[in-house]
């Protein structure tokens, strides 16, 4: 490693991070679909010439490091790489992100004919074909049902965009115009990254950038090491359950070992891969583990290859966290959230003062689709829930947690666009687990069908299990889907993973997301806090009395 003044290293690092953020700004500005533009379900990154991630602007932790496999696949593919070539894939088993709707794009960057790095981005496309609109049903039983599988192919060359892959994707998507716009936006973003990477090389010289990259990676490794030194050595185990699909519930088990500056996670004991799309491919497992470690150990660790390479992860083949191709994967986020819970649970034993109780820890993903004025529509939404109560304070109400952080669609926007009406969008009282520090509240969203009918599909978890409390804190409430609440024909849907539920005009679909666990003995909660919660309607009188022993005279 060439010696280099540490400030230059950081200035180069800052330029690369700024460049990745600039790529993200271009991608969001240029994209066509709400998913990318409004919900920022996309990430951008720059790699060195060895394919090590140097700078990433991730809007969702599930994208952390998830493009790394793409570079490996590109190198392994034996494809000829010429300057100006751009590649895409969405194959989760071969470097293409973590499920089919995520299209990954990469442009190898050359300066003076030599490879100097890679500029890449990943974006969630709102429909990539498959058996359900939105390509995101939780109950598909093979990758082939989940949508178009795009192998690693050239998307553009020095002669411009290759029409064939674009046409394939367009023809297979229910929303072809969006696909075209979004893929061209992805292209614009990787080109900005390429330009910036070249500028940095021109300015500092190749050797300096190389040396700086090595230092930047080493810096992340050192920060992880420094944080690990504060964790007592030992092996910490935890296990949690997924909602059952067919047969018994799947267990997520982890043994986390800290040994000095080393950390290793072994998922031995985790249940077998699922027949439905809740399987987690390697990049998604890695991103989840990186997320949990970063959040607990040192939120400021720069997410780069130096950090990732220092974490050892073993997952049993054929398990839900290491499935065999072509197991379906689209609803992997629910399992990722449970993996995050398991890793956090293990860390709670190691550093109890830093780890919150379980959050709602699911991605309550729902889609309504149908026809309106002769146009096909797909309205996807993610409903947030409670954030786990923290060791020193209450959990956050109605937030996205762990591996995602996507925003909702404003009611006024969705009612403009779709024949749907939102009757209720409110917090659910008592959904947060009781505790010295109360768990965050889940959310109720009632959607009424105005048109000739609509089809409802969803994947969600924590409808059969509850988010756990810690240190005497109570569990949060589970989520559920209910059709026509309060009417004679009210019925609850069988679970969180459903598709093709037919709704008629006037029907209401109620989505309830889970709350979160409480932290510490509820009896130790101050009367003033209970009174505030009561006054604000966050807990009911009965819960205040039964769970907190609150009397109105207090």
């Amino acid at each position: 490693m060439k010696t280099l003044d540490p400030i230059t290293v950081q200035v180069i690092g800052a330029s690369l991070v700024t460049a990745a953020e600039e790529m993200g700004a271009v991608l969001r500005r240029a994209s066509y679909s709400t998913n990318i533009k409004e919900r920022s379900d996309c990430s951008t990154a720059l790699f060195d010439e060895h394919g090590r991630l140097v700078a990433q602007a991730e809007n969702m932790p599930i994208h952390m490091g998830s493009m790394t496999g793409l570079i490996d696949s590109l190198v392994a593919s034996g494809l000829t790489v010429r300057p100006e070539d751009v590649f895409i894939t969405n194959d989760p088993y071969h470097g293409g992100g973590t499920h089919l709707p995520d299209i990954t794009m990469v442009k190898p960057v050359f300066a003076d004919g030599e490879l100097i790095g890679y500029s890449a981005d990943i974006a969630h496309h709102s429909d990539i074909g498959g058996r359900v609109p939105g390509s995101n049903a939780g109950d598909s039983n093979s990758l082939f049902q989940e949508g178009l599988r795009v192998p690693l192919v050239k998307f553009a060359t020095a002669d411009g965009v290759e029409q064939a892959p674009l046409a394939f994707v367009e023809l297979n998507s229910r929303l072809p115009q969006e696909r075209r716009g979004d893929m061209l936006a992805q292209l614009a973003a990787v080109e900005v990254g390429e330009r910036r990477l070249r500028e940095v090389h021109r300015r500092y010289g190749r050797e300096t950038v190389r040396a700086a990259t090595a230092h930047l990676l080493d810096h992340s490794r050192k920060r992880l090491a420094a944080a690990l030194r504060e964790v007592p050595d030992g092996t910490y185990r935890f296990h949690d359950l997924m909602d059952p699909t067919e047969g018994p519930a799947t267990e997520i088990a982890v043994a986390l070992t800290v040994d000095g500056e080393r950390v290793a996670l072994d998922f031995a004991g985790t249940g077998p891969q699922s027949p439905v799309g809740i399987n987690v491919v390697r990049p998604a497992l890695e991103a989840t583990v990186y997320y949990a470690l970063k959040a607990v150990l040192d939120p400021g660790i720069p997410p780069n290859g130096g950090f990732f390479d220092a974490v050892e992860i073993v997952a049993p083949p054929g398990s839900i966290v290491n499935p065999d191709e072509p197991a379906p994967v689209t609803a992997r986020t629910d399992t990722c959230q449970r993996v995050a819970d398991a890793v956090l649970g293990a860390l709670a034993a190691a550093v109890p003062e830093r780890v919150p109780a379980a959050s709602h820890s699911t991605v309550t993903y729902v889609t309504f689709s149908g026809e309106s004025d002769g146009d096909y529509f797909v309205y996807p939404e993610v409903v947030a829930g409670g954030g786990g109560a923290r060791p020193t304070k209450d959990g956050l109400d109605a937030v996205q947690v762990h591996i995602t952080n996507s925003s909702n669609l404003p009611i006024e926007a969705l009612e403009q666009e779709y024949p749907l009406l939102v009757d209720v969008y409110e917090l659910i009282p008592d959904s947060g687990g009781a505790g010295t520090h109360r768990g965050g509240l889940g959310v109720r969203r009632d959607v009424r069908v105005l048109g000739d009918g609509a089809e409802f599909s969803a994947h969600a978890d924590r409808q059969a299990t509850r988010p756990w409390g810690l240190r005497g804190g109570g569990d949060g409430s589970p989520g559920r889907f209910v059709v026509n609440p309060g009417r004679d024909d009210e019925h609850r849907l069988p679970g969180g993973r459903v598709s093709g539920v037919q709704l008629r005009q006037g029907d209401v679909l109620r989505v309830e997301s889970p709350g979160s666990g409480g932290f510490g003995d509820p009896a130790s909660r101050s009367a003033a806090q209970v009174r505030d919660d009561l006054r604000n309607g966050l807990v009911t009188e009965q819960a205040a009395r039964d769970l907190y022993g609150f009397r109105s005279a207090d």
């Binding site: 400030i7 200035v11 800052a14 533009k37 947030a384 996205q400 006024e412 926007a413 969008y425 309607g537």
Partner: protein, 687 residues
């Protein structure tokens, strides 16, 4: 006759008076009075009059920039506010966009809603997205809400119903009834404050407006009273967030529009000064003690955004698109657990301030590094008012140096470079988000620390020109003298841009136009040159993002679209989409999301005074000192007195220029030239 501008900042109140007859400026600075800003405002006016040898009756114009609204939100010190909203949606503010405040820091908290949940009253009513009444206003609920609001004894009420931007009948009815029932309570409806779509942002804006309303109103009436007491015969005008002057009455009705009052005056002044120097594409760079404000000005006009947040709360009224980074002279440097040097966002603030200030500060700041590098005077700063504690600065920086295992000089240089890299990132960000290349722009530096770092930031970003105005520390007050009387009227439209049927569009355009005309009739001075301009925000149907396209003047003048005009703006939208994103969908349905009209009365802008000419620095040379630059290491560098510099003088870098309110650093890779107005125009060599 005298024109006066008074800008109130956190520490100082700056007063600038312009004598219209002589063209002379009088500048005065006094400590701000934080309990009641109007005390220092009145005092400053008296003093500047004395200074200028003028009488109160000579004052023909008084402009004011205030931080009352901002501070009220930042310090959570606003009115007890209640909210009346649509049943079923009482948690719009609680849920927001459902995003957590930090991706990785699980301890981070959301900004609590300004209205506690217990003070939210839900009323059964419902409009459709087309503005049709789906559920009529429930009489019993309204009565109960009126009752409930009354019992809470609030100072302010916000009324926010779904789709009120489309049909405000329910909202206005409830607001009216609240006003009758509670005459002393400040009441506002979302359709009055920001009739635009997307409920969380509109509700949030309305609630912020209600929350700051009573306090702003009290302040404005005290201010008017104290100014009357000085004998000044004119009512002050206040600069709003979008860089336009408004009457006290306008401010009382829309206090939320003053959230960015102070910073916007700086941007307006910077554009004015740069404009007279022949520069119309610029990025303003206002660096103070705790933060740096950056704003892009294109073709002489600052970019305006409606997507701003204050203290994490969205405010959807047009504001200058000022981007703030937590990097200032007081930003603290530390070494992270991985051994890397970080600067900010923590700040030593004004108390204790940097170690070099000798007020007990021990943490190393950007200012301390600048003292050790010779960028700042090692003996006295703030024009000699403050003796530098050099040893304290050394001790502070040594702490970082030890942790870095480096020399003191390496640490000091490192702090400067990292701070510059952070600020360069902010400059790039405002450019990129505007779709512009910063290399075509000039950097205009002001604030106490802007001129210190502007040249290295410009070089880092690849900008070749830096402009430092004559009085960078009081530029905001100057801005108040050159700001037009102006405000914006925005209205959600959400109609297809259908050439066959412009009637629906015209209905809304007509409404906004009437508001704009009415405002001008009451605000514009008689005989002033007035104009209404406007833009439309368009999108492809189902796209959730809009692009602005200017409205043809003939459409605005007639307050009417015809088929050609609609076709014209649709074509302009396709072109804008192609420019911004590289493609257009000419066969897709195009929607007009919003129409925004700007009503303005132009004020006379003073010519900046010329400075005497002379090619030699002569007496301006104060001496020389060793100054440490990245490119060269420590070099013997001339130090000049800004006030002694003549127009036409060229100062090749390295050079230091000192003045009362700031220090300008001309690095070895730059050359400064004094222009006829006394601006330092610095050409920066590119790497």
């Amino acid at each position: 006759m005298l024109r006066i501008g008074v800008d109130v900042g956190g520490t100082f109140t700056d007063v600038t008076a312009l004598d219209a007859a002589t063209g002379r400026f009088h500048i005065h600075k006094l400590p701000s009075t934080t309990d009641d800003q109007s005390v220092a405002v009145a005092e400053g006016i008296r003093e500047v009059l004395r200074h200028a040898g003028a009488e109160p009756g000579d004052v023909e114009y008084l402009g004011h920039g205030t931080t009352v609204a901002t501070n009220t939100v930042l310090e959570s010190d606003g009115a007890l506010t209640t909210l009346v909203t649509t049943a079923g949606l009482r948690d719009v503010l609680e849920i927001g966009r459902q995003q957590r405040p930090d991706l990785y820091d699980m301890d981070a908290d959301k900004a609590p809603p300004l209205v506690p949940r217990a003070l939210v009253h839900a009323v059964v009513e419902r409009m459709s997205a087309e503005g049709k009444v789906l559920v009529p206003l429930d009489e019993d609920d309204v009565a109960a809400a009126l009752d409930g609001v009354g019992q809470a004894e609030p100072e302010a009420v916000a009324v926010c119903f779904l789709h009120s931007y489309r049909n405000a009948d329910h909202e206005l009815e409830v607001a009216d009834r609240l006003r009758s029932a509670l005459p002393r309570v400040y009441v506002c409806a979302s359709a009055e404050v920001a009739p635009v779509f997307r409920e969380f942002e509109r509700f949030s804006t309305t609630v912020v407006n209600a929350y700051v309303g009573p306090k702003i109103n009290r302040y404005m009436s005290r201010l008017a009273e104290r100014i009357r007491a000085t004998g000044v015969p004119v009512e002050p005008r206040v600069i709003g967030s979008s860089g336009g002057m408004m009457s006290l009455d306008s401010v009382s009705r829309h206090p939320v529009t003053t959230l960015l009052s102070g910073p916007s005056a700086g941007v307006v002044a910077a554009s004015h000064v740069a404009g007279q120097a022949g520069l119309s594409n610029l990025i303003t760079f206002d660096m103070g003690g705790t933060s740096t404000d950056v704003c892009l000005v294109r073709d002489g006009g600052a970019l305006v955004s409606s997507q701003r947040r204050i203290n994490h709360r969205p405010v959807r009224t047009p504001s200058l698109d000022i981007h703030t980074v937590g990097a200032g002279g007081g930003s603290v440097a530390r070494v992270d657990p991985g051994g890397a040097l970080e600067v900010g966002p923590g700040s030593a603030g004004s108390q204790p301030g940097p170690a070099a200030y000798g007020r007990g500060g021990t943490e190393p700041t950007v200012t301390d590094a600048n003292v050790l590098r010779g960028w700042l005077n090692p003996e006295f700063i703030l024009g000699g008012e403050l003796a530098v504690d050099y040893a304290a600065a050394e001790r502070a920086v040594d702490g970082v140096a030890r942790a870095m295992e480096a020399d003191r000089s390496v640490a000091a240089r490192g702090i400067g470079r990292i701070a510059a890299a952070n600020m360069a990132g902010a400059v790039r960000k405002v450019s990129v988000e505007a779709g512009e290349d910063p290399r075509g722009y000039a950097l205009v530096a002001f604030g106490g620390a802007g001129p210190l770092h502007a040249v290295e930031v410009a070089r880092e970003v690849g900008m070749s020109t830096v402009l430092v105005p004559p009085n960078p520390g009081t530029l905001c007050a100057l801005g108040l003298l050159v700001t037009d009387i102006r405000t914006e009227f925005a209205k959600a439209v959400l109609e297809d841009a259908d050439v066959r049927d412009p009637d629906k569009l015209n209905e809304m355009l007509h409404e906004v136009h009437a508001s704009a005309r009415g405002w001008l009739a009451s605000e514009a001075p008689s005989g002033a040159d007035t104009k209404i301009t406007g833009e439309a925000k368009l999108r492809y149907a189902r796209q959730n993002f809009e692009l602005s396209v200017p409205l043809p003047q003939r459409v605005i003048d007639a307050a009417r679209f015809d088929s050609d005009a609609v076709a014209g703006i649709v074509e302009a939208f396709h072109e804008q989409h192609t420019r911004s994103y590289g493609f257009a969908h000419r066969d897709a349905r195009v929607q007009i999301v919003e129409v925004q009209l700007t009503a303005a009365a132009v004020v006379d802008k003073p010519e900046l005074p010329a400075v005497p000419e002379g090619t030699e620095p002569g007496d301006a040379l104060l001496g020389r000192r060793r100054v440490d630059f990245d490119e060269t290491g420590p070099v013997d560098t001339p130090v000049y007195d800004r006030t002694g510099l003549r127009a036409g003088t060229v100062l090749p870098g390295p050079a230091i220029v000192e003045q009362l309110d700031t220090t300008t650093v001309v690095t070895p890779a730059a050359t400064a030239r004094v222009d006829r107005h006394g601006n330092l125009v610095i050409e920066v060599e590119q790497r």
